[in-house]
Symmetry: C2
Subunit: 690 residues, 2 copies
């Protein structure tokens, strides 16, 4: 097992050797790497194959991916993607997140409070229409508003025409705009989840390492009209799973990468954005850990959030380590210089010549307002669900009376149903936990803006963060969904008349929050225009097909199931159940290496040679969690759930030297369902189609 | 049990009600509160009584207090004060810190690697002599150097005359200078420590709460010439312990309070110093926790440091919460205004009129250089024992050839033996742990100074923090004490010729570190002069005897054993062993509420009615850990080990409304030694004198 410390040293080798690129790419379904895959693997990506996979892929609005695996609406994803629903369904007497869940009948399937699934039905390139409204003589602010207006119009038009949720997605940092149409499922029910102990076996010590032994799987079912949804495009189950070196595909929703960023943007990440976020994550991790230590019920309430904070902290720490390796920036600089030179030599790209400088300037301006933006607009100063609810109510009252074209994007007609679905969620909220987080967030705000900042003083009202958080949380009525519905329906008059302290807080900070947002949006418009120019030049110069940075929209990755060599040692491409029991034994079954009771009891029943986790070279990142791994025949051979430690640098650049995606093997899912969980019916549903 | 969240609300009441002052004060032994105690408790502090207590009190150089409790050199303190020695004596096969230790014979007593004990033998007020060298026409820098020179001279003169370690201590923020002479013990051996589980029963959840159930005690023995030291002044053991409302005294070494700070200084704490330190502590806590989770040996290596980080984080969080309560600053401001007014009306205090402004200016200047000072001079950028060693070697080579008067204070002749004792410690060091901390510290430095800072670039040498830390730790030879001794003995020529990477790093940053230190020292001189003027005015105006802020020197506190009321509930003044078993049972013996096996096995033997922990109104703070609690007859009735959550605000102002010092009861120590640990011989040694 390698320590995380050794990463950086190895990264150096990586950044020098990664020129080959290999199985790189998070490809658009409407611009897939047909030629590359044909050349490397001799496989033809047909339109039918792509359409089937696209429509079998599912996006979780809680952040993650999934896929349909039966014609009756069964959806497979990770335990940690389902965590949000598991956490919200739990109470002090039932901890499904920790203990797992199994609906033996349809009637027992439990409806998630606010889980929405999206299936991408079509993609339309609307770049020309979006760009047509932006005139050369416009200021950046005018350009941003014009672009926002046309996007709202396109989305609304599409919604009216198709009835589908319609989102215009910005790709290539502004190089292209595509209209994505989604079928929505909002009645989603929990079918099965194992114990967190086995889903996250090995806990923090083994996390981001490999070999791994995690059954990070969960099943849900999409319903329509109170009946299981009838699904045309679902994935069949592979009999054998994937062999070593076999070609596999991953279809999922990578959240965010930064590979097309300019050097100035990367340096901003390194010098400002990541230090800020990490600092905030460190304090949240300590806060949530200390709160959890107080008693079991606290631990239950904070568990999913703590898990998320820890995962982000680890991922961003890895990203920061990559950026602090001078070789990464050096190679990015070299590539940038080469492109700049090409642009300079070609009058056709005259516009692009100054693009890098414009991006740098805009990034600087964003940087100057980033703290206020993060605190007030992103809400870091008020991190609590109750504040988010109050803020949405306040803004909805302002935005909804406006013409659709002029609203803040999240209040556009096309997204209205999804927004209301979230806003009226009956998820359980806990006053003490809300207060804890809000008090800490207020303290964080003070540390960032200074105690004497006028807004800070207005927010605190002469009270300490703890006292202020206490009165806000205990005083607000927006805990009550009926109150939310009423305020939302009655709109501005009701909001203005409200004495609710959390509503008043959201009103108080709104003007400054909007001001910060406006600056960032305007500067982003400048960056997008510049990136579009650079993108055109890059395409002309490099002459190859490429893929945009990740944007939490559907992408296709591919690669091979493949072992790797670490410090002269060959790391196997897959593990087995036998390895799980060995690892637990080595660690004397001490947490986090303890096994759930069922796994101890049923050991004798299991075929211990069953492959458990495996690695592949597919290009994935956070958001891909829960993505199906399929073979040439579109059969499920695995389920993405993590990357090894080397994959933490993939945010900035792809490498297959040591970075690997880690999946649960399809066979282990079936074996565990049948032998450990007595979930033969579920296993039958999944496998019967093959 | 009250949650920490509720503190702030109660603090408000506190800051309004604390005018009474009650049992306030960390008093100087040469200026004790005779009159106050006589008035409040009818007790006469005699010179003999004071001298006896003073000479029975012991300071631990690892940070903490203790007392002699037998004529054969036996010293009592806390488990957590002894932790530094326990940790360093442990290895992968023996974890004395976790499992405890008991020397059944003198021969089994284990010598601590680098524990030095100091006993205060005399105090001399040298204020006039120190101030005489500072002339009105001097710049602040000249004044600082003149003052440092005379202090070095006084110390050296005293050392030569008495052979005792001699330190000039700055009191009242510069109002007075006292010469303290200490007898040193450097052969200190571990006699007894219980399991950390029982010393810190209840762990984080119960920490800073009360009722508590901790046996936070450890015994050491001071040796001279390889024989137990013969001690004239040691404390006898009380038969019964303290009764409710009984007068008690605490003699110990409170580390640092900020009660005499001006409002400008307090605001600096709130706005700059505490956010900086807390931010650093948060990331260290996450780092050490994640490292500890990897395996048991990691956890053992990091345990004491993690414990320390968590304790600091909690204490400073509490302090920050107090400062963010507007009422605290408001009451401080009111007091300051009153004093300013008195000064203005009295031509005698003309000098003092501008003192507050001068302090504010100087504080601002310090603030502007604080980050560089913290990183480079305090070493936050290089947090690792190996760097500290290299730095000491580099500076010793520069300083030792200078005349004593001109050296940096820590290289003065008077402290030489103590410095060498530390420098040549054989404490175990672990490469992986040193590297982990150093890499994180380098990353912290980058986040504070910026990646492009020239010094950052020189430090990193084009490598990532992880890679650079790796080569520094694996490359340095100063791990070897023989190498340290050689470099120290050979001095500047050897250091300059050295290719040791850690030595080179310490050299590289030395000029900037010294520059930052010079600024801070000069501005502190300005502050000290101003504080001295304010102090004179305050004394004249308030007309009462007072005590200086804590400085990790010996102080006398007093108070009563006293219950308190929290949310309408009476909190008992003491707990019992019966309560320990009840609390463990309530929590189902789950960590941190599990009991060591011996405590489970011996429950039947114990008198469960034995008083265990008790609270008093004595004015204590961090550094007082291990202080003896004695009665009028100078008999030990308890052992300070913590404060309740309300005591976290004592840094800034005293209150006895809810704040309480928590002690281990004398009887519980004897009962546990005899019945749980079969340490009757040790119990006999302690109690035979009574």
């Amino acid at each position: 097992m390698i320590s995380r410390l050794q990463m950086a040293a190895i990264l150096i080798a990586w950044s020098l050797l990664s020129a080959a690129r290999a199985d790189e790419g998070m490809w658009l379904f409407n611009d897939p790497p047909r030629k590359l895959i044909k050349e490397r693997y001799g496989f033809d990506l047909t339109d039918r194959w792509l359409e089937h996979l696209q429509k079998a892929s599912v996006r979780f609005n809680s952040g993650g991916s999934g896929s349909f695996v039966s014609e009756e609406g069964l959806v497979m994803s990770n335990h940690h993607v389902g965590a949000d629903c598991l956490q919200k369904l739990s109470d002090k007497d039932h901890d499904y997140y920790r203990d797992g869940f199994h609906a033996k009948t349809r009637a027992e399937e439990k409806r998630c409070h606010d889980l929405e699934l999206n299936v991408l039905m079509s993609i339309e390139n609307v770049t020309d229409r979006v760009n047509a409204v932006v005139k050369a003589e416009m200021t950046a602010e005018q350009a941003f508003l014009a672009r926002r207006a046309i996007i709202a119009e396109i989305e609304k038009e599409s919604l009216d025409k198709t009835g589908l949720r319609s989102d215009v997605v910005t790709l290539y940092q502004g190089g292209q705009y595509h209209l994505y149409r989604f079928k929505k499922y909002t009645d989603v029910r929990l079918v099965f989840a194992p114990e967190q102990q086995i889903a996250f076996f090995g806990g923090d010590p083994d996390n981001f390492e490999y070999p791994r032994f995690d059954l990070d799987v969960a099943f849900f079912r999409a319903y329509e009209n109170d009946k299981p949804a009838k699904i045309e495009h679902y994935l069949k189950w592979s009999k054998a799973g994937a062999a070593e070196n076999e070609l596999i595909f991953v279809s999922g929703h990578p959240g965010r990468t930064s590979r097309l960023m300019t050097v100035a943007e990367l340096e901003y990440q390194r010098d400002q954005r990541l230090p800020y976020i990490l600092s905030r994550l460190y304090r949240m991790e300590v806060l949530l850990t200390a709160y959890s230590a107080r008693d079991a019920e606290n631990a239950r309430r904070a568990k999913e959030e703590l898990f998320g904070v820890q995962n982000s902290r680890k991922a961003l720490n890895g990203g920061q380590a990559a950026l602090l390796d001078a070789n990464l920036i050096k190679s990015k600089k070299a590539a940038e210089e080469k492109l700049k030179q090409a642009v300079k030599d070609n009058p056709q790209f005259k516009d692009a010549a100054s693009a890098w400088d414009r991006i740098e300037e805009a990034q600087k301006a964003i940087g100057q307002h980033a703290v206020r933006f993060n605190l007030l607009e992103s809400g870091d100063a008020f991190r609590s669900t109750l504040f988010s609810i109050a803020r949405t109510l306040v803004r909805a009252a302002q935005e909804r009376p406006k013409p659709n074209r002029e609203r803040l994007r999240e209040f556009g007609e096309s997204g209205r149903e999804s927004l209301e679905f979230q806003l009226f969620s009956e998820e359980p909220l806990y006053d003490d936990f809300e207060q804890l987080k809000l008090a800490d967030a207020l303290t964080w705000m003070i540390s960032q803006l200074g105690y004497k900042d006028p807004l800070v003083q207005q927010v605190l009202m002469g009270k300490s963060p703890q006292a202020r958080a206490g009165e806000l949380v205990s005083g607000t009525k927006v805990k009550d969904v009926a109150v939310r519905k009423k305020l939302y329906a009655e709109g501005k008059a009701a909001i203005d008349a409200s004495n609710d302290p959390m509503i008043k807080l959201a009103q108080l900070v709104d003007a400054e929050a909007r001001a910060a947002r406006k600056i960032v949006e305007t500067q982003n418009e400048i960056k997008q225009q510049a990136h579009a120019q650079i993108g055109k030049a890059r395409f002309a110069v490099e002459g190859t097909s490429t893929y945009p940075d990740a944007t939490f929209t559907l992408r296709l990755a591919y690669g091979a199931v493949k072992s790797y060599e670490e410090n002269g040692r060959r790391i196997p491409f897959q593990t087995s159940f036998a390895g799980l029991y060995e690892r637990a034994g080595q660690q004397k079954y001490k947490p986090p290496f303890d096994l759930p009771p069922a796994w101890v009891k049923r050991k004798g029943k299991l075929d211990l040679k069953t492959p458990y986790n495996f690695v592949s070279t597919a290009d994935i990142i956070g958001g891909n969690s829960g993505s199906p791994v399929i073979n040439r025949q579109s059969e499920v051979v695995g389920l993405i759930f993590d990357g090894n430690i080397y994959s933490l640098a993939l945010d900035y650049s792809y490498t297959d030297l040591l970075a690997r995606a880690i999946s649960v093997h399809s066979q282990s899912i079936i074996e565990a369902l049948r032998k450990v969980y007595d979930a033969g019916k579920l296993a039958d549903e999944i496998t019967k189609s093959r």
